[in-house]
Symmetry: C2
Subunit: 450 residues, 2 copies
Amino acid sequence: MIQQNAVEAMKTVCSLLIFALLSTPVAAQDSLPSWNDGASKQAIVAFVKKVTTEGSESFVPAAERIAVFDNDGTLWCEFPLPNQATFAFDEIKRLLPENPVWKDDPAVTALVSGDVAALKADHNAGLIKIIALTHAGLTPDEFDERVQNWLATAKHPKFDCAYTNVIYQPMLEVLNYLRANDFETWIVSGGGKDFMRVFAEATYGIPPQQIIGSYGKLKYELKEGKPTLTKTLDSLFVDDKEGKPVGIAQFIGRRPIACFGNSDGDQAMMEYTTIDNPRPSFGLIVHHTDAEREYAYDANPTSSGKLTTALDAAPQRGWTVVDMKQDWKTVFPDDPKDGTSSLIGEWLVEDIAGKGVVDRVQTTVNFSADGTASGSTGVNRYSGKADIDGNKLTFGSLATTRMAGPAALMDQEQRFLTAAETIVAFEFGEPGIVYFLDNNANRAMKLSKK
Amino acid sequence: MIQQNAVEAMKTVCSLLIFALLSTPVAAQDSLPSWNDGASKQAIVAFVKKVTTEGSESFVPAAERIAVFDNDGTLWCEFPLPNQATFAFDEIKRLLPENPVWKDDPAVTALVSGDVAALKADHNAGLIKIIALTHAGLTPDEFDERVQNWLATAKHPKFDCAYTNVIYQPMLEVLNYLRANDFETWIVSGGGKDFMRVFAEATYGIPPQQIIGSYGKLKYELKEGKPTLTKTLDSLFVDDKEGKPVGIAQFIGRRPIACFGNSDGDQAMMEYTTIDNPRPSFGLIVHHTDAEREYAYDANPTSSGKLTTALDAAPQRGWTVVDMKQDWKTVFPDDPKDGTSSLIGEWLVEDIAGKGVVDRVQTTVNFSADGTASGSTGVNRYSGKADIDGNKLTFGSLATTRMAGPAALMDQEQRFLTAAETIVAFEFGEPGIVYFLDNNANRAMKLSKK
């Protein structure tokens, strides 16, 4: 066994090497390619440089580099309806046949007949009932599965693709850029915490424990000897407006130094981040000005996303206001319709060249937004370049660790690496399945979404 | 400016090198030196090896390596009273002169006269009042400052040292060992979330956002134009018993695979971690059996820490039960009375050899529990060995990065590195200050606690 001090020494050497190379902050020129040059991009880059330059007065230690992001309208599209509302409506319709008593519920009747006014009457009583019917009385695991199934099949009405593809490429780049500069990125959204946790890790690279949202009490019990949590809507915490700084203080316990939002619902957390903060701080508002590529709205949105007071306050507060139409070179990752971006994430190899795979180990492929693929061959870790362009896919040469394993696994590793060299394209199959094609258009590999 | 792809390439090379060296999990022989060899230590090591061995069926990806720790009685001493209760009692006495109306409060009267029965009467109504008087109606920053001041001065009645020194060295080693194996370590305690967040980062290496505890609602408002949060005891969330799995699900959103506790209050989260978990899992109970070095209690503690049902359930559940007296070679970091452990943490250099330091940069020294010192010279990062033994202190040769800086800062760096070589001892001065002494017993450096 390798001595631990040798490992530690190597880590130190590597850290120092990396550190020396990183003595200037991670270069931004390449980090924000979907942003047009202009005041917004410059402001982001200048702030990151300011807080990461060692020895400067404005330097902020990595542990305090907390960045918070609203979700609806800031990271993904919230039009024509917040996606979680669409989910709830779709769920009511899907579950109605199994729940005939719902037909007597005025909220369900209003929903089915499209009577939005009735749903909103009496302080949104109908909407709250719809949320209760679809978000409470089940376990978090059951709820997760429903959200997953919905995300796998539902399509955005304007862009005709999965909701997780209608996300803002420039903001993905900001997330990556901040993380590359040792920021911890958090979501702080009025949306449901449990709803977002289903997709945020694969979609934004933000793990469940960095997602703050609205939530109700959970009930815990041992049911037939098994630990069981049940979602309720009791003691609802609404993570919107003044709830956002409260959620931040409760979950993070540390004041953010950067805040990204798009509506008046984000104003309180923008203020909490930028007013009277002993650290340098940064606020940014995404202003939806692009009716052609996305939507244009501020004072009078059809649903959520009202932006008036926060926009008025921006100049005085020094917040950067992004003009989507002017500032964003592209809005969505590639053209969302071609589904390219949905390769991003982790896949499990189910078959190689029709010969199957060994059951008890996992050969995986993890595509990152930065154009790399990495994973496990089942024995060794590997990584390398992955070019995705439309439905074309090619791997660069893959670097692997060099451990030995049982013969069957070494064989599988070899088959995987050999097959990877032949891949030229991909196609989606049944839900959650993708095939990698060789240059004879044979399905050389079958993978399932992890 | 260095190209980012060069940095990335270097990172990849280093990652692969480190990875190759780490292809066996981080060696445990040296990681748990305060544990006697035996079933408990073996169980910890075997579990970590099991979930970190790539290619094995029991392998758990790093993102899912969540470990949760109770605090009172698991990471630090909870006898004769939970430390937070002592804090509340001390605060009442300190604040009484400024709050003469409190004298008419029966809870305060009971406390001042030591009438514990009266405090506990009527479902702890008196104790709850004491908590309300000391934990609500102030901002989190004000509360933090009070806790800091108390921790800096209060002494444990038996061990006669700061409460943050009465922590369990073997458990610190478990925390470090797990983190070295890419676990994320969390506290899940019935104690106050805000109380623990004041000291847990410096004491355990656990940042605020990984601390779950009991808490009340926060109120947010702009007060005289400044963002202001106020602590209340409304909608109290009690993170104990069934509250623990609930807190875990709300804050982490991912099931832990390892759970460490010491009382029946931890049983629900032990069950949540280990029953019906699709991942391999581990539960450990610290049984306080050492009346000489610490305390011995289980069924009948004087205050918190009752351990009966969880102990009974342990064999059936496969939980490891630590016999403190048998399993722990040492209980506290060094002898807590000598204050050695309070060097651990980050210090700011205030003076070198009586010649001052440049105001606008920070030369820092961060002592880790693993015997290393690291920090910034003001221009470069450095790290190396630091031997602390009683009041003796010596630095090994310090490796630094090699950036150039302004002449004044390079001079300070040189003075710091030269002075470090001469240090042979340390002594504490006024609160929060330590002096490093050379072999003529001169105060060669003055540092303040960061």
